[in-house]
Symmetry: C2
């Protein structure tokens, strides 16, 4: 079977071009650009790479970025005060706290301290909770509410690749707050039948083989093998892991699995760039809401 490789770099460049045009218009209308604040605590090299990439993407589309690097020794209260200050800063329309935080810091109260209308990542409980509300995708997207970037990136990838979700069986492998659970809510809004599997699932391979669309988000290098994939399935790989031989790899054994799929996302160059594009999308949407 010949599979389609869903190219996240290409697609995200298209989306960023749309956003760039919109940002230009916004800046012309208001006299100021949308602004994103990035908070990066400690020395995690992967986090540094991600944030640098996000800042570069901001620049590329005309979004102002305000970068706050903090030492790993930064206290919970320092971070909280900084967030509260940024909540009040009229130049900052969206705030991103890069995760994971160094040991000793608790991310939940900090994410909850971000103004829900400046929540770049859509991880505030109010924004997650609102995912329960919407009856369909149109309502969800038109709410202007920030949607969790990675699952939203997956949805945009599938929609723009003309992959039907309505009525099909989507299996989400992983139940995290960041990906698995909001992913399930978005797929439901698009009328997919959704199963959430995880480490405690009995006979995980059989559960995954039921998937028309399989979204892997468990953070285990090359965990998904051909035996876990139905012939002709669409496989989306959200993972970003250190490969045993060095370099990066996803949650899917790409070279082996792609022989069975009708479409598959690579790592890198799949969902990663889509996630960044959705962050820019959220920043612009939040700036529009605040200007309205």
């Amino acid at each position: 079977m010949t599979t389609r490789i869903l190219d996240g770099r290409l697609l995200s460049a298209e989306i960023r071009a749309e956003i760039r045009k919109d940002v230009e218009q916004f800046t012309k209308n208001t006299g100021y650009p949308p602004g994103l604040a990035t908070l990066l605590v400690g020395d995690n090299p992967a986090s540094h790479t991600y944030v640098a990439n996000k800042i570069k993407s901001c620049k590329d589309v005309g979004v102002a970025s305000f970068h706050y690097p903090l030492p790993a020794s930064a206290s919970q209260s320092t971070l909280k005060e900084l967030i509260e200050r940024l909540n009040r800063d009229p130049n900052v329309h969206a705030i991103l706290l890069q995760l994971p935080l160094p040991g000793g810091l608790d991310s939940t109260p900090l994410l909850n301290a971000i103004d829900p209308w400046k929540d770049a990542d859509g991880l505030h409980p109010v924004n997650l909770g609102s995912l329960f509300e919407y009856k369909n995708w149109r309502e969800m997207i038109e709410s202007g509410q920030p949607l969790s970037c990675t699952p939203h990136g997956v949805i945009q990838m599938l929609r723009r690749s003309n992959i039907q979700m309505a009525g099909r069986h989507a299996v989400v492998l992983g139940r995290s707050k960041l990906v698995g659970k909001p992913m399930a809510m978005m797929l439901l809004a698009l009328d997919a039948t959704v199963t959430i599997c995880h480490s405690r699932t009995q006979d995980l391979p059989a559960a995954c083989r039921e998937a028309d669309i399989l979204v892997a988000a468990i953070g285990q290098p090359r965990f998904v093998k051909p035996s876990m994939v139905k012939e002709g399935a669409v496989v989306v790989d959200v993972g970003m892991n250190r490969a045993p031989e060095g370099g990066l790899c996803g949650d899917v054994d790409f070279e082996a699995v792609k022989l069975k799929t009708s479409a598959i996302t690579p790592v890198p160059g799949g969902i990663g760039p889509m996630t960044v594009a959705m962050l820019l999308h959220n920043t612009l949407q939040l700036a529009k809401k605040q200007a309205a």
Copy 2:
């Protein structure tokens, strides 16, 4: 196969006896009882019955109830002002807005106006969103956060009937904000593999037959037939519909389906009384939080 009939009246009486003891202790410690405000708009006879039943149950366990019946002509702003007043009322620890509201009123902004820490039904976005946070049931229940009453009633029914959820496949039929979606989050917290099915699911009978535990919450009288149930499954019926021949019935064709199940809940006398018990539980928990 002999099935167990899971008796919600019996079980809820046990839970209410536990709550009554706790309420007595609370009242002794603080000098005042936990208080629940009930808002009932219009003349829907089912809603009147439900609310009367809730008020009676409050009295039974020593919870003070404050009842606000309003005409169907009540405006959105009247309701919003009443909710805001009750948010400030120190005698009221929990506020219940009985749904559905009469035509012309929009429930979402009113539910969102309830102080999340007075949210008797656990339907405020902050409380729904927090369901994404918890890694397991213990964290969820110990948060003291109000959990959506009907799905919480289902969980208590299953747990107190010693029905294992971890590793088993739970299928939730229905994707509402009130039941289906929070139900899925709670089952996940208990390590079940969870599938959410709905009206757009292809081959719904086959999807339901995969269930070790099937939770029906679609609001269609006797929709679940034996052909949709695996031999030996546990079937939980959340429905409460007008039966074609008069009287009430659930979403499950009880008499026919029970021949295939290992355990099943009846309607009435199943999840209904459990829901009311969980409302009392939430009221007490919220009163404790506010007293702390």
